[in-house]
């Protein structure tokens, strides 16, 4: 039994007079304790909406509807009422956001923001919470935590801020951590540190981690299982090694090709995926990726492709997959 089992998750945004947007369209995946699962895709493919839906943080208003189920340790997160969901958030499931500067309250010292979680979920007194906060900041690698507690977000460097946010997220030892592009706003050296820290936290505490990213490079070093999303659906899912060695979906191949590589020849150009994420076909009319796909055949249009399973558990949603033999850049 997986820790989190997402089945058929769908999120639609309806606005009067406009076409309903299927931001997430039947996404299923599962996460085990201690496992790192990647959700990968371009902007607009539904990664962030998926995470917000799991956290129950989508705006509750007319027009936003969430379907499917997300069974976390026996309870369906999507069915919980607001009050119980608030108890789950931060205690059992926590999230790390993309932009650490805007995710921290600018007028409150870091310390107060960290202790807030502890007071809320662990019934700590002020003094105990402060001590725990020092320990937490220390654990996420913030030097001189005593002093940092009194400082304000703008006084910390980008990496420090993300570390502080991570400290807040792991404060109550959640069993599931969702990291939504945790390194996008950081420069490359800091990225490496933050990823290293996340890996360490997962290893030490058996926490499950959902990594949401557009960067397959990040995924390569961290994730056990990778789900590639396109236009709200999972188009390919595999264990990390299998995906990098034997990716079948043209979209995955495209994502891999658009990563700059150190061993590429000088002057060699990156190969972007044609078009943009706006050029999608509704899934009901065939493969959403078809308009941008180099491997398109007639069968791509008309009927939505189903997931094709293989014996290794690797699945892809494509009628004309990239042949395995093609010697693409396969690296893990």
């Amino acid at each position: 039994m997986a820790l989190l089992d997402v089945k058929d998750l769908s999120v639609t945004f309806a606005r009067r007079g406009q076409r309903t947007v299927h931001a997430v369209d039947g996404v299923s995946f599962s996460v085990d304790a201690g496992e790192v699962v990647g959700l990968v895709g371009e902007s607009g493919c539904g990664k962030s909406v998926t995470s917000l839906a799991l956290m129950g943080l989508l705006p509750r208003q007319r027009g936003v509807s969430v379907g499917g189920s997300a069974i976390f340790d026996g309870t369906d997160l999507l069915q919980l009422d607001q009050r119980s969901m608030r108890d789950v958030r931060g205690r059992d499931v926590a999230m790390i956001f993309q932009d650490p500067l805007s995710s921290l309250n600018p007028v409150i010292p870091i310390g107060l923001q960290v202790t807030e979680v502890l007071v809320r979920h662990r019934d700590m007194g002020r003094e105990a919470a402060r001590k725990e906060a020092v320990a937490l900041l220390d654990r996420v690698g913030i030097p001189d935590p005593q002093r940092r507690l009194k400082e304000y977000p703008h006084q910390l460097s980008g990496g420090m801020r993300q570390r502080a946010l991570i400290a807040m997220a792991v404060a109550c030892q959640p069993r599931l951590l969702i990291a939504d592009e945790p390194t996008t706003a950081l420069d490359v050296t800091i990225q490496a540190q933050i990823l290293e820290l996340l890996k360490e936290l997962v290893r030490d505490s058996d926490t499950a981690l959902i990594m949401i990213t557009h960067d397959l490079g990040v995924v390569a070093g961290m994730c056990d299982t990778i789900n590639v999303l396109y236009a709200g659906r999972v188009v390919e899912t595999a264990r990390r090694k299998e995906l990098f060695a034997g990716r079948r979906h043209p979209y995955t191949v495209g994502l891999l090709r658009s990563i700059p590589r150190l061993d590429a020849g000088r002057g060699e150009k990156l190969t972007p995926i044609r078009g943009s994420v706006r050029d999608v076909l509704p899934w009901t009319e065939g493969c959403a990726f078809a308009p941008r796909c180099d491997f398109r055949v007639d069968a791509c249009l008309g009927e939505p492709p189903a997931m094709t399973p293989t014996h290794t558990g690797h699945e892809y949603r494509c009628v004309n997959p990239v042949p395995l033999s093609q010697p693409e850049e396969a690296r893990a």
Binding site: R89, M95, Y152, M160, R163, E196
Partner: protein, 331 residues
């Protein structure tokens, strides 16, 4: 800042384990800064001190407050003593001007004008501050509830917000002086009435301002981040959104002090102020002086200057604070 980077063994990237390397990098990338936490407010204060108009405004206000607080104990004459009439210096058509003894001369009832001006500052200050506080308290309460309800409360919240804001709109649609006059007329002329009237006028401004800024803050990432940690809505509203929304309200309060002083003077001028007309008050002094404009224009000019300079002080400081607290103007 150069020298505060800790001098350990020389940084070399080649040897050592990866983990150590990363820790070292983390240490170096940290902002080394020996200042303790610099809050938004402290930062704003620093900018205020560099702004000449803030200095001028603050200087005016310090003098004004000093005069209002200490002045009445130091005045040369009793401001209600009609010595000029007793001594027969006031005659119809002639009010003596400044002399060595009476620096600004007598007023029309034979009282020392200078003493009245000084003592009048106190009442002007008290009424200005109290009425602004009344407006601030009611306005911030309404605006805070509406803002929190609209920003976090879902469908019911938006309903509460609408109801509150329509009430505020009604207040806003009335001309402020007319509203003040009606309140004053309704409650009968007294000092309290003036304060309530002037306070009520500023309620909608504070309410709208705080609500708008709270709704803007409610959509910020840190609010989402706080809710992702399970922080309760009430706490998010009080300890996250409100502190971030207060800056424009504080600026507005300073500016409102200026308007309040003018409005108090206007109400007194219209005869709706303190019924005890022997007590000096700048607006009242101005009103009394209008009959004697041709005889002694100074009687009108002195209190008018007092009102203008004080209002200017508050406005200068308020505008400077607006600049200091505006995140868009921060480098």
């Amino acid at each position: 800042m150069r020298s505060t980077i800790p001098r350990g063994p020389r940084m070399t990237l080649a040897p050592g384990k990866k983990k150590e390397k990363l820790d070292r990098l983390a240490e170096l990338s940290a902002v080394r800064d020996d200042e303790q936490g610099v809050s938004l407010w402290r930062e704003a204060m620093r900018r205020l001190r560099r702004n000449p108009s803030a200095i001028v405004g603050a200087a005016i206000l310090v003098i004004f407050v000093l005069v209002a607080v200490v002045g009445p104990f130091l005045v040369p004459f009793d401001p209600v003593d009609q010595s000029g009439i007793r001594e027969g210096v006031i005659k119809p058509g002639s009010i003596p001007g400044s002399s060595a003894e009476h620096w600004l001369g007598y007023d029309h009832q034979g009282r020392d004008e200078f003493s009245r001006l000084i003592v009048g500052a106190r009442q002007t200050l008290i009424v200005g501050i109290v009425s602004t506080l009344i407006g601030l308290t009611i306005g911030v309460t309404i605006g805070g509830i509406a803002g929190a309800a609209a920003g976090l409360g879902g469908r019911w919240g938006r309903l509460i917000d609408s109801v509150l804001m329509r009430i505020v709109d009604m207040l806003l649609s009335l001309p402020s002086l007319l509203l003040a006059v009606s309140v004053a007329a309704l409650l009968g002329p007294s000092l309290t009435t003036v304060m309530i009237a002037v306070g009520v006028v500023s309620v909608p401004i504070f309410a709208r301002l705080l609500r708008g800024s709270m709704i803007a803050q409610a959509n910020r990432d840190y609010v989402l981040a706080a809710s992702s940690l399970g922080v309760r809505k009430s706490r998010i509203a009080i300890s996250h959104i409100v502190p971030n929304s207060l800056a424009p309200v504080i600026v507005q309060a300073t500016l409102t002090l200026a308007t309040a002083i003018i409005e108090v003077a206007a109400l007194s001028f219209l005869g709706l102020g303190n019924p005890d007309s022997t007590q000096p008050e700048w607006g009242l002094m101005l009103a009394d002086a209008q009959v004697y404009l041709d005889v002694r224009p100074g009687l009108a000019i002195y209190p008018a200057l007092g009102i203008i300079i004080t209002a200017l002080g508050f406005t200068l400081l308020g505008e400077a604070m607006r600049e200091a607290l505006d995140p868009k103007l921060r480098r």
